[in-house]
């Protein structure tokens, strides 16, 4: 189990001794101990010191969030230690500085701990030669089928070959051929020829995902990654192995041959499949989402995400998306529809309006709804979604923003408890107007017969359902990838997400038209941008006090819930 799943900031560690080392002649201070993949403090290694010194050391098998094995030899560096005399005292140069004895052999920087006074050399001719040698050896049996390889463009073998390799191959013999397009599991395809046997995937699935599914079989040049016979590589985290695979050996069946990665626009976003709120990058090209990849955030998901969340994007581009503003089935404009709704809401009696918001909406939208709610004296609630959780990332709460709904006062700590009250209100004729956001209330106790009794059913949704069919007003909304906003995750992490693609047709971000609606009904104004809206919300909602859109940064801020 990795640190990835722990959201809370760790208690302030006891002061760790700092030691001085030199990287390529520059002296830096680094902590003697540093947290390893499991969060345990272990002696700082040379590669970590180089990283702190902003010196790049190429590596394949080393991954900061995986156990160190040191098998690829790409991170070899030369180093020196302060020379000790026969009296075990440092030998000094004539100018008083300690004399450095260069070690006769190089060391793999990923597995060699640093010690005080150590000097690391990453640019010597010998290091350059070693890197060339390692790359030449890795390329001996590599098929060089980059034109048909999905990894091309984000392949470490390509990158390091350009940066550190030789320009020409000296290999004239026949390459060893291994199986191509091996079906490893329901979501993973293996090309054994491309594999450089770094074992990152094996370590990930064994140590992080806790499913010891992969291993290496055969000997020598015939080494191959494989599963146990008859046991497909199938757990909820398999696609992370595609991310960490430095070459194109493991590829995603979902993304296979879909788009070259250099065409993808990467947008920082948040996964909405559960309340964990894993940070993701949305890869899109020309308003079509091609893939999700995890974005590192040690406070939430580390560098990982689950397969279910990663593949849950296809509904965004569905053809049956709601695209038109409809008033009683007639297509109209946003202005006309919003004016009509505002007039009706302004004239409505206190207590005759109920709101069913969605915990899939953003903090800002829920806050705007809460403004409507208090002005209209409305009763509001949302819908709970409960599923299975796991030990690593998946939360049992399948709404991305349940805590946002609670903090903005849309629902009580127990979500969905007011729904029967709304149903009764409609049945008794007390509630005449129902505003629904992104939920199919017919599945949650407010059936079609009850909806038929309403004077006004105002529905905003993304995809058609039984509720939108009965709606008097349909306001087409946006998926999270089509707008900006923020979610509060299960641990109270407020995280913002950016817009990746344009919404189809007339669909408009909910916060935009909610702002117009709130302005028409209550007269409140002053937040026509998402930044202004967030800042106004943060000033109003006590839990968010002190936050601004800018201070959320890319990885969010944890608030008390």
């Amino acid at each position: 189990m990795s640190t990835a799943a722990t959201t809370e900031t760790k208690p302030a560690p006891t002061a760790i001794e700092k030691i001085k080392v030199k990287v390529d002649g520059r002296e830096i201070e680094v902590p003697r101990l540093i947290a390893d993949w499991s969060g345990k403090l272990t002696p700082t290694t040379m590669i970590q010191a180089c990283e702190l010194a902003k010196t790049e050391v190429p590596h394949y098998c080393y991954h900061p969030k995986l156990p160190v094995v040191g098998n690829c030899r790409m991170c070899l560096v030369e180093y020196g230690m302060p020379a000790l005399g026969p009296d075990r005292k440092p030998v000094l140069n004539s100018d008083g500085t300690p004399k450095i004895a260069k070690m006769p052999r190089p060391a793999i920087s990923c597995a060699t701990p640093i010690s005080p006074g150590m000097e690391i050399y990453t640019t010597t001719p010998a290091v350059k030669q070693m890197r060339e040698g390692v790359l030449e050896s890795l390329l001996i049996n590599h098929p060089l089928d980059c034109p048909i390889c999905d990894q091309a463009g984000e392949c470490k073998l390509q990158e390091y070959s350009v940066d550190y390799g030789q320009s020409a191959s000296r290999f004239v013999e026949t390459k060893v051929h291994k199986p191509k397009a091996v079906d490893l599991g329901p979501r993973i395809m293996l090309d054994a020829e491309r594999c450089i046997l770094c074992t990152r995937c094996i370590r990930f699935t064994k140590d992080i995902a806790g499913d010891d599914a992969l291993g290496i079989i055969n000997r020598g040049s015939y080494n191959t990654i494989a599963t146990f016979p008859g046991m497909p590589f199938d757990n909820n985290y398999t696609l992370n192995t595609v991310d960490i695979c430095p070459v194109g050996a493991l590829t995603s069946k979902d993304f296979r041959f879909k788009m070259r990665v250099w065409f993808l626009k990467e947008t920082k976003s948040v996964c909405t499949s559960c309340a964990t709120g894993c940070n993701v990058l949305i890869g899109s090209r020309e308003d079509k989402i091609q893939r999700y990849t995890p974005r590192e955030n040690d406070a939430v998901n580390g560098p990982w995400m689950c397969d279910a969340g990663r593949l849950n994007y296809k509904w965004i581009g569905r053809d049956d998306r709601l695209k038109d503003v409809l008033v009683r089935g007639q297509k109209t404009t946003w202005t006309a529809a919003l004016n009509e709704i505002s007039d009706k809401l302004k004239k409505s009696q206190a207590g005759s309006v109920a709101i069913v918001a969605s915990a899939r909406q953003t903090n800002e939208e829920l806050w705007l709804i809460s403004k409507l709610k208090s002005k209209l004296g409305a009763i509001s609630d949302s819908v709970a979604r409960v599923g299975e959780s796991d030990k690593l990332l998946v939360s049992a709460d399948k709404n991305p923003n349940t805590n946002g709904a609670r903090l903005t006062g849309i629902c009580f700590s127990e979500i969905g408890t007011s729904l029967p009250q709304i149903a009764n209100g409609i049945a008794s004729g007390k509630i005449k107007t129902l505003i629904v956001f992104g939920e199919d209330v017919t599945k949650h106790g407010i059936g079609a017969d009850l909806l038929g009794k309403l004077d006004n059913l105002i529905v905003s949704d993304i995809l058609p359902n039984a509720t939108t069919k009965l709606a008097h007003y349909i306001l087409p909304g946006c998926a999270h990838a089509e707008k900006r906003g923020s979610f509060t995750n299960t641990k109270g992490r407020v995280q913002k997400f950016m817009k990746a693609v344009e919404a189809p047709g007339d669909a408009r971000a909910e916060w935009e038209f909610l702002h117009d609606l709130v302005f028409n009904v209550t007269g409140q104004d002053g937040f026509v941008t998402i930044e202004g809206l967030f800042n106004a919300m943060a000033a109003d909602v006590s839990a968010f006090n002190g936050l601004t859109w800018a201070t959320l940064g890319d990885t969010g801020v944890t608030v008390k819930i």
Partner: protein
């Protein structure tokens, strides 16, 4: 910077000497064309121009000697194309298999907008499969803009065959030869 115009001399202000000089050139060429047969124009389109061998005409897709599509949809030409004339639809995970067993993929659709193409030849230069060549066509016509977007079928038909080393076939043969090795999966 101010450049002062030189005043015309008396000889230049007469005009006539320059006109006479001009007529001399015109009449020299008229004589060469009419009486010496030194024709510099061509009766296009009845007469056609002999296209030089390294001419950069319209880019077309080619097939290998076995009639298979050479393009593997790597999309480098699409990326490098300065006027963004090329548009490739990759096969995706469920697309049609490549013509050649070992090449794994080929484009589902390949479009070149010939109105956008500037005949720079970058696509030919960048192609790792030698699948696209600038050929000799220089006079492309169509009656609509849509007609000038050539699709994969049209590009392959116009491109013809360009024999090559068939590296994917070689790889497959190598792999097959190794199947009889002692170590088997």
């Amino acid at each position: 910077m101010i450049v002062n115009r030189k005043p015309l001399t008396f000889w230049e202000r007469l005009y006539l000497p320059a006109i006479v000089g001009g007529f001399k050139v015109t009449l020299k060429h008229a004589y060469a064309t009419l009486f010496q047969g030194k024709v510099v124009t061509m009766e296009y389109p009845e007469q056609k121009w002999a296209v030089p061998p390294d001419y950069r005409g319209a880019p077309y897709l080619v097939k290998d000697q076995e009639g298979n599509t050479k393009c593997v949809s790597c999309q480098l030409c699409e990326f490098v194309c300065p006027p963004k004339a090329i548009r490739i639809t990759p096969p995706g995970p469920t697309g049609k298999q490549a013509d050649r067993t070992n090449a794994e993929k080929m484009p589902a659709e390949f479009e070149i907008n010939m109105l956008r193409c500037i005949y720079c030849g970058f696509c030919q230069e960048v192609c790792p499969e030698e699948a696209i060549f600038l050929q000799k066509d220089y006079s492309l016509v169509g009656s609509s803009r849509e007609e000038m977007i050539y699709n994969k079928e049209k590009l392959l038909a116009l491109g013809g065959v360009s024999p090559g080393i068939q590296k994917w076939k070689l790889k497959l043969e190598e792999a097959k030869a190794q199947e009889s090795f002692p170590v088997k999966l």
